[in-house]
């Protein structure tokens, strides 16, 4: 069991990911933008982060950098979409462990998390 911070501005996706993670025995903390994600990370010290890219306030890339500068060991998996290749490259260079492209199969997210947590 791990504590996962799920960051996405779309509530429906958070609900769906949360359902999947809790169904697999994980504990979930949610945030709906990058700025809140940074705060929740500090507060909750999750084992891993699932991070959306396109969000209001602070986007996922900025939040990733912010989180990694506070905790160089932070394990962040990006949730990206088609057409965001350059963002993904930037994210990997900024220390993202992995990325999963939306729309995703639940197994893919779980597998990426497993790898990130290893």
């Amino acid at each position: 069991m791990a504590k996962i911070l799920v960051v996405d501005d779309a509530e429906f996706l958070r609900v769906r990911i949360t359902k999947m993670l809790t169904g697999n025995g994980h504990e979930v903390v949610e945030a709906d933008n990058g700025a809140k994600a940074v705060a929740k990370y500090r507060e909750n010290r999750p084992d891993a982060v699932l991070m959306d890219v396109t969000m209001p306030e602070m986007d996922g890339l900025a939040a990733l950098k912010e989180i990694r500068s506070g905790d160089p060991n932070a394990r962040v998996v990006m949730l990206t979409a088609l057409g965001q290749e350059s963002v993904v490259l930037e994210a990997i260079k900024s220390g993202a462990r992995d990325f999963v492209v939306k729309p995703f199969e639940p197994d893919r997210v779980l597998a990426a998390l497993k790898r990130a947590l290893a």
Binding site: D9, A10, R14, V29, L89
Partner: protein
């Protein structure tokens, strides 16, 4: 054949409001974009809305919706990056796609395939990007077949195959590169860093490295990268194996132990509710649950009223008894708490009127295009809150009023300039609270209503004689536009023609215990003011006795209740009237006009008269007795619509008896006032 999507019923309650909210954001944004031009923040907002919709559509497997939102997003992304600017064709393509998205979204609920040709729309969107040099990566995929150069010493050659179906293979190559750099010295690799940075698709990564790690360790490390299909690690100089070793499916980890802990996360919002203020905690619930709460509160109010009646009927027997005093205190406290409870429940159901107003920018834009008029739509008081049932009920009448203002009120640009006005006409929508009601106005600065034309039309259609028309006051003549079949527009355009008539607008508003009034000035414009209760669930009413019946007159219509000596009621032209201050008030005997049983009314020394108002008209309802005010609980709107002329349904009173609700507008028509 029904179409199914990958979404559970409970998820639907989050999905639909959120998708509708994004569609609205998209529409608002596109309207602003068309009107005021692009700015960075606006483009970000619009882009995000399209992007979020794409994500949602993808998650439930709605392929056509995903493709359409993807095409929209791509156009918007180019705008955002300044690769091109908007054009009328682009706006039409985006707005047309938005309309299609609404239909595609409905499919999620109806499971019926809509009549949307998304390919046509996608093409229309893509045309907008045709002149732009494609930034897209080249189609060719780099697959190095041989090692770039042999590595020396205890070097290793690493060959990694990436799933050709990977949607971001360059990023996988980058992950592989970074992983290898962490395991030793990566001397050279294909594709090189610059190629990877250019996001070119990559099916195979070949690297030469110096490391003290074993081939097995390197294979193990690379297995963590997603989309990797095969890894081969051989000593430098050795030939590549025919096929690299298949990667073990995601490395085995101990299964997580199930645990029921979930952080109590107050994120999220109740369906379609306004955004809570920062820091406020919210929960999600269903409309049905709130409605049940409202109904239960309604029952409680009925019981409270009944309790108050019981108390007053036992008062003569028990006054002075300390138990009775306790009862009085308790019932009073209960009454206060019930009031507060009702208020709080009402508040849960409140929505800002912006949820009704927000469709108008698009409507007015389309109307302007269709009529060739230039229109500036302004809105004020969008935050004004009212019960969601009222919002739903007034939405259509408001649409008709706005259509009417554009169609009949506003002039075309030439006519406006000829009249010394600006070429662009204004339609102003406002909302505000006033004395426990909501006032919504639809105002235009157009030509105003031509009273003489309205009268002439009524005469032409045989509604009035010339003499009757001449005798009408200005207000009475203007109110003729609410009569069925009377329209002064020479040609019924396809805009107003599509909607309902003003007579239906008025009767729909009145069914909600609302009223509509007109204020018009020739050449300057017209204001329609709609006054509505904040809720349809509870109607405050004045109870009166007529023959043997209890009748309820909705308080919003009541001007005052009077006791009038008989001789003050006179007859003019054979009709009973009385003088109320400066005005002459026509009197209607409620028992007679409604033909209520109870026989002939006896002459009496004084009459009880309830002065009621309808628009700008007033009349007096003569009744047998005044009982008092009470809040009537209405469970459904349909129970406000009665079958008997002059009545608007029935409500159950505190004592369990049924009261007929007076339909004041209907009484004005019956009474011929």
């Amino acid at each position: 054949m029904p179409i199914m999507f990958d979404i559970a019923d409970d998820e639907l309650q989050v999905f639909m409001p959120e998708a509708e909210e994004q569609l609205q954001k998209l529409e608002d944004g596109l309207m602003r974009l068309e009107r005021s031009g692009a700015d960075d923040e606006l483009l970000q907002v619009i882009f995000r809305a399209a992007h979020t919709l794409k994500g949602a559509a993808g998650a439930i497997g709605h392929i056509r919706m995903t493709e359409l939102t993807h095409a929209m997003e791509t156009v918007l992304d180019g705008l955002r990056k300044g690769q091109y600017s908007t054009s009328p064709q682009m706006m039409d393509a985006l707005l047309g796609s938005l309309d299609a998205l609404r239909l595609l979204l409905e499919e999620v609920v109806t499971h019926e395939v809509s009549d949307v040709d998304h390919h046509v729309l996608v093409t229309a969107l893509e045309i907008n990007m045709e002149n732009i040099a494609p930034e897209a990566p080249e189609a060719s995929v780099s697959v190095p077949t041989a090692a770039p150069e042999p590595a020396t010493g205890n070097g290793l050659q690493v060959v990694v195959d990436i799933d050709p179906a990977s949607v971001a293979s360059a990023a996988r190559a980058l992950q592989i590169m970074i992983t290898l750099q962490g395991l030793g010295t990566l001397a050279s690799h294909v594709p090189d860093a610059a190629t990877i940075e250019a996001a070119k698709p990559c099916a195979r990564f070949v690297g030469q490295m110096q490391t003290d790690k074993s081939p097995a360790e390197i294979e193990q490390a690379l297995a963590w990268v997603s989309d990797v299909t095969r890894v081969a690690v051989v000593p430098a100089g050795q030939p590549l194996p025919e096929a690299a070793a298949p990667v073990a499916v995601a490395a085995q980890l101990p299964e997580p132990t199930p645990v029921k802990v979930k952080a109590p996360e107050p994120a999220g919002k109740s369906a379609a509710a306004p955004k809570p203020a920062a820091g406020e905690q919210t929960i999600r619930t269903t409309i049905e649950r709130v409605n049940t709460l409202m109904n239960l509160t309604g029952e409680l109010i009925t019981d409270r009223n009944r309790l108050a009646q019981l108390r007053s009927s036992i008062e003569p027997k028990l006054r002075g008894d300390s138990l009775y005093e306790d009862l009085v205190q308790t019932t009073q406290h209960l009454a206060r708490i019930t009031d507060q409870l009702q208020e709080e429940v009402m508040r849960i159901r409140m929505l800002p009127i912006s949820t009704a107003f927000n469709k108008f920018p698009r409507l007015v834009r389309d109307l302007a295009k269709a009529t060739g008029k230039q229109i500036d739509l302004q809105m004020r008081g969008e935050d004004t809150e009212l019960d969601r049932t009222v919002i739903e009920a007034i939405s259509d009448p408001l649409i008709h009023l706005v259509r009417n203002s554009v169609d009949h009120g506003l002039e075309g640009p030439e006519a406006r300039i000829a009249a010394g006005k600006s070429a662009t006409g204004t339609v102003l929508l406002t909302a505000r609270h006033e004395e426990g009601r909501i006032i919504v106005t639809v105002e235009d600065d157009g030509r105003g209503i031509n009273v003489e034309a309205v009268k002439a039309s009524a005469v032409r259609k045989g509604r009035l004689t010339e003499a009757e028309a001449a005798a009408l006051s200005n207000d009475e003549a203007i109110n003729l536009i609410f009569e069925s079949g009377l329209s002064t527009a020479r040609n019924v355009s396809n805009i107003s023609g599509r909607g309902v008539g003003m007579d239906i607008v008025r009767s729909n508003i009145e069914r909600l215990n609302g009223s509509i009034a007109i204020d018009t000035k020739p050449g300057e414009g017209t204001v329609f003011s709609v006054s509505l209760p904040l809720t349809l669930a509870i109607v405050p009413a004045l109870l009166v006795k007529v023959n043997d019946n209890t009748m309820a007159v909705p308080l919003p219509s009541v001007v005052e209740a009077l006791r009038v000596p008989k001789e003050q009621i006179k007859k003019i032209n054979g009709r009973p009237v009385m003088r109320l201050r400066e005005r002459v008030l026509p009197i209607v005997y409620l028992g007679e006009v409604l033909a209520l049983n109870g026989g002939q009314r006896k002459p009496r020394a004084q009459e009880y008269v309830v002065a009621v108002r309808w628009g700008k008209l007033e009349m007096g309802l003569a009744v047998d007795r005044l009982i008092g005010e009470q809040e009537l609980v209405i469970k459904t709107i349909s129970s406000l619509i009665g079958d008997t002329p002059g009545t608007a349904g029935a409500a159950i009173l505190g004592d369990g008896r049924v009261a007929l609700i007076a339909d004041v507008p209907g009484l004005f028509r019956l009474g011929g006032a």
